[in-house]
Symmetry: C2
Subunit: 320 residues, 2 copies
């Protein structure tokens, strides 16, 4: 009888997180190794194989005990073939990841991008709590996401599925976005957007905690704005309210079309917890179909940096 | 060797459309029978079985030549079990359709609601042209839809998937919608919405073709508004522009999240053809991620009333 473990791998620009899970989602072992981005990331395959073999041995197991490996990577990925079109931080360019890793490990391998893998992880063992239909949103440098319908990621025609950060929030006079448009949700509700709005408030001469922090530190972070809002600062509160209004509105319209069970909010900004969730909920319910507004759970992500390895393991279970 | 046909059935309140297709989508035979809504629709099962048996015999075939049956019905359906929660026009209430029809026909049966079945039909043999990721929108009494990702319908958690008519278009002071909210896309871009805007224009004293039609007919239809716009009437043109702006905007935001290959526009309003498609495209491209804007095809539906039987046949092919 083999152990039937699932391996989840989250490849980042500096470290690779790895773990073995049982099919029920119990973590058997969890560890990290550095990412060797030299020579266009060519050494990463051997590093993964060595790390897995070593940990298998340590756990009295062999490769036969692995059902499969699921791997998340940053960048643009052709999911059907497991080919990395480009992963700048890692060095891969037009790299046949699944093919190479399967040849080296002799175990089935599945890959997807890091946002989708994190969404799968939160759906399975995180705030999604096993629901079949989950929208996952990350509020970080940008606004990213992964949309899950019937437990499957919506990749879309060219892999742009889940790019909810580029939903247009402000139709005229919005801030420019990296995508080439203006007024994208990402320009408002991301950490970058909240910081931008904070700096604008200071520049426009608004007094209060934001301007005093700015005078002291010479800069302002999204966390400064969120903390000031929590502490009752008026200007900061307006910014957080504005950012969460646009997020709630965009999520309501997406939920009207997709009818998820749960919306999971992750990323740096989500650390503000119930303070932002309550606001998102209020605005969401104002614009959702009444039954959708009542039935959709909105929750803060719970897995943190482990979402990738958990989602990788789940993807591995589906590949077989 | 059996013939391997697929049967598609579109159950409406007055007639049931039926057809046999080959697996490649060639129509073998197509016919209609009246819908007997008496006694809560209990006779419909026998009527379907009789009609299918008769047409099989006529085509020198037997039930063994059928791979499966796919059926679309109006109303609320529990897709996994094939149970009709309620189909008011047909009379069914809490009716185990799949179970009953499978028992009577001894052939696998799949069911879904009429909008989703039409979406599957347009995706397979209509304007979707076989694409895997298609958004289908109907502009009729309301704004309905079916969202297809990876050739599968997005049903959502409670079957509300595809309810894009209730995306909020106007955040403040919008017209009341049947769903309980205000400002829904449906209140603007449906035939009902376009008619409403036309009547409002007449009431507000706008002169031109709309007011003269209203004086002559005592009423106004969406077609009157669309025809007047085509003929260059200014007030009508503003209404059509407004309706297509909101549709294009909503579809762009949905496409930013879902990255479809094709958006198919059906329903009565779609008969205005390129006149509205050009406008939808313009507004869509203004708010879509540039690559999504370039790559998404926007087309008028091509199957008309046959979308349901085609989609039913395709669903039948997937059930097995």
């Amino acid at each position: 009888m083999t152990k039937q473990w699932l391996a989840g791998i989250d490849v980042g620009g500096t470290t690779m997180k790895m773990a073995f899970f049982t099919e029920k989602g119990e973590c058997v072992d969890k560890w990290e190794v550095p990412t060797n981005t030299e020579d266009e990331g060519i050494h990463i395959i051997d590093d993964i194989v060595d790390a897995i073999d070593e940990k298998l041995t340590k756990n009295n197991a062999t490769r036969h005990d692995l059902i499969g490996v699921g791997l998340g990577a940053p960048g643009f990925i052709e999911v059907e073939t497991g080919r990395i079109i480009e992963a700048v931080n890692v060095g891969w360019k037009d790299f046949p990841l699944t093919e190479r890793l399967e040849a080296a490990l002799e175990v089935p391998v599945a890959v997807d991008n890091d946002a989708n893998i994190a969404a799968l992880g939160e759906r399975w063992l995180g705030a999604g709590d096993g629901a079949e239909n989950v929208l996952f949103v990350t509020l970080g440098t940008g606004v990213g996401g992964g949309l899950i319908s019937d437990r499957r990621i919506i990749h879309g025609e060219s892999g742009f599925g889940g790019e909810i950060g580029h939903i247009t929030a402000v139709t005229e006079g919005g801030a420019p976005c990296n995508c080439g448009k203006t007024g994208c949700l990402e320009t408002i509700s991301s950490a970058t957007g909240i910081r931008r709005l904070g700096l604008e408030a200071v520049e426009s001469g608004k007094t209060g905690m934001l301007s005093s922090t700015y005078e002291k530190e010479g800069d302002l972070t999204a966390k400064d704005v969120l903390d000031a809002a929590k502490a009752g600062d008026e200007a900061a509160d307006e910014i957080v309210e504005y950012a969460m209004y646009h997020l709630g509105f965009a999520l309501a319209n997406l939920a009207n079309a997709m009818n998820p069970n749960t919306i999971v909010i992750g990323g740096g900004v989500s650390k503000a917890g119930e303070f932002i969730i309550d606001r998102i909920r209020t605005h969401f319910q104002a614009y959702a179909i009444p039954k959708v507004g009542e039935d959709t759970n909105i929750r803060i992500a719970t897995l943190g940096n482990d979402a990738g390895i958990v989602g990788g393991a789940w993807l591995a279970s589906q590949r077989v």
